[in-house]
């Protein structure tokens, strides 16, 4: 089985979010970038398939050369090879179109992507990619098994789970549950050494596909200070929630 894991390169969750150039660009100064947490879950599941069922695992990113350390980290975790599509994407459809070109020519059976990326929070790339490649698609996966050509995927729905059956080739949008937190791997020294020698192919973009762009960014209005209520006076809290906030 040929597996492709889509890796988005995002600010670490504790990053301060600031903007430059009149609030049109994200300020990457001092920001540490990591593998998007959802993609890390997917990558770990891919490693499971590789080890338990036999599979090759390619990781891919659409981005500039600054994303290569993130791809190397994915290689250190155990992916076999990496591809970087050399462009700084402006929107989800552009990413999906670029990925679709590689997916179609590469003969992949299983494409794993995160349910959402922690930067622009698009929640759009996996569905668009599946549509453009005409692959089957399940989003929000918290479990997946592949036996022969048959795929059983579990997705989270409001208030429960749904089990779905499908076939390869398929795109899955994955999240925590596709593997558990404790199964995530930290690259060890040997992995890091080996990753340096693994192939990282840079390919040029093939499409011009943006349909949206960011005009500007803004930060939420500063919040007023918290109103403290005395622990012996919960009646006051109830009255504030009822009369002032009007939420109960």
């Amino acid at each position: 089985m040929k597996i492709l894991v889509c890796i988005s390169h995002v600010p670490d969750t504790t990053s301060k979010i600031n903007f430059t150039e009149n609030d049109t660009k994200f300020d990457t100064n001092g920001v540490q970038f990591v593998i998007n947490p959802y993609d890390e879950f997917c990558l770990t599941r891919a490693m499971w398939f590789k080890e338990k069922q036999g599979a090759s695992v390619t990781v891919i990113n659409v981005g500039g050369s600054e994303t290569e350390p993130t791809l190397r980290k994915a290689l250190a975790i155990g992916a076999d090879n990496a591809i970087r599509i050399n462009t700084n994407p402006t929107d989800g459809i552009q990413v999906a179109k670029e990925l679709a070109a590689v997916v179609k020519s590469g003969g992949y059976d299983l494409v794993l992507a995160g349910k959402e990326s922690a930067d622009y929070n698009g929640q759009m790339v996996p569905g668009m990619l599946a549509t453009l490649t005409d692959f089957n698609f399940v989003n929000g996966c918290v479990g997946v098994e592949v036996a022969d050509n048959k795929v059983t995927a579990i997705r989270e729905i409001d208030g429960g789970n749904e089990t779905l059956s499908s076939s390869l080739p398929i795109v899955l949008g994955g999240q925590k549950g596709i593997v558990e937190e404790k199964d995530l791997r930290i690259p060890n020294m040997r992995g890091i050494m080996m990753a340096r020698k693994k192939p990282l192919e840079v390919v040029e973009p093939t499409t011009e596909g943006t349909l949206t762009n960011v005009g500007s960014f803004e930060k939420p209005a500063p919040k007023g200070a918290v109103k403290l209520v005395d622990a012996d006076n919960v009646d006051e809290l109830i009255s504030l929630l009822h009369n002032e906030a009007k939420v109960i």
Binding site: Y120, M124, E162, V226, L228, L237, I238, L241, A245
Partner: protein, 318 residues
């Protein structure tokens, strides 16, 4: 030209999000000097949508659509969008909405603005405000394509009555095989879900152990709220994974979020920032959650929560 909204339903009843997308779509249609058309699948009485401004309701009835299937539902939306010459399509941000919207957008070659939180600030260029960076910022996104798909963030616009004399139409569709088949659905509980709840009562490691969740459930019961928890709590197995909220868990966009014994780590706050009103109960006045909250009590959950339950019961009874 028209604005098409997908009014989602469950067992024939409209979801709250359906009323929100209709209210929103009506306003967008006004901005564009056109009409809003609501699409429904397998509902019997669509008149409720007129109350929120739907000038036209298109009803699709087909047994093959009884169970949600993203590709099949997307195909119906696409067909209706074509028939109505829709230039804007609005879809809610439920799990299912988020699943199908990218399919609709890719097929229609439409720019897609997910997680939109407000009406277009301009219709030319067409600009909407969206959540970004896990609720730490917003992006004003310009959609340049002719057709635009908007994913409306839950609870961001609310529902507003705007009664019109609507007309209804039916649409016959043929449902193609989708390649993905639903085998079974397991509902974890009959209680209100985090996604649907107006109020969410959430607790963290400050609760010490799973045996102490009785009072959290009781508080949630009194308020008609859903229960939630912080990540360590679900990692420790004190609560089911489905309850974990935050950056790597579920997002909460409720009207009221009550955080009990939760420190307010940035990854936790990322998932709850979209909630309107936040209340924190914590023994440590320095807990970061106090900076993010609207109301707070510095105190021991084991004393405050039982009192709160008792007083709320009295309040509800009065």
């Amino acid at each position: 030209m028209s604005v098409l909204v997908f009014a989602d339903s469950s067992e024939g009843k409209f979801k709250k999000s359906a009323l929100e997308v209709v209210s929103y779509g009506k306003k967008v249609a006004e901005q564009l000097n056109t009409n809003v058309v609501a699409l429904t699948i397998n509902t019997t009485d669509a008149s409720e949508l007129y109350t929120y401004g739907a000038e036209k309701v298109i009803s699709v009835t087909n047994d093959a659509l009884n169970t949600f299937n993203a590709k099949q539902y997307a195909a119906v939306i696409i067909e209706a969008a074509k028939i109505q010459s829709a230039t804007v399509v609005v879809i809610d941000s439920s799990t299912d909405g988020m699943y199908l919207a990218p399919i609709v957008a890719a097929k229609l070659d439409a720019g897609y603005a997910s997680n939109t939180v407000a009406l277009p600030s301009s219709t030319s260029p067409f600009t909407v405000k969206r959540k970004a960076f896990s609720n730490k910022a917003f992006s004003n996104t310009v959609i340049t394509s002719e057709i635009k798909v908007i994913g409306l963030a839950k609870n961001s616009y609310g529902f507003h009555e705007n009664a019109v004399a609507g007309v209804s139409e039916t649409l016959d569709v043929t449902v193609a095989e989708s390649g993905v088949v639903s085998e079974k659905i397991d509902k974890i509980s009959d209680k209100v879900t985090i996604a649907d709840a107006d109020i969410v009562v959430s607790a963290g490691r400050g609760l010490k152990g799973p045996e102490n969740w009785g009072m959290i459930e009781e508080l949630a019961d009194v308020l008609g709220a859903a229960t939630a928890c912080s990540k360590p709590v679900s990692d420790l197995g004190w609560r089911p994974h489905g309850e974990h909220v935050g950056q790597t868990g579920k997002p909460v966009a409720s009207n009221l979020y009550i955080a009990i014994g939760i420190s307010g780590a940035i990854q936790h706050l990322a998932g709850v920032n979209a909630s309107k009103v936040k209340v924190v109960i914590n023994t440590d006045p320095e807990a970061p959650f106090f900076k993010a909250a609207d109301y707070g009590i510095v105190g021991d959950a084991f004393e405050v929560v039982p009192k709160l339950i008792e007083k709320l019961k009295a309040f509800k009874a009065s």
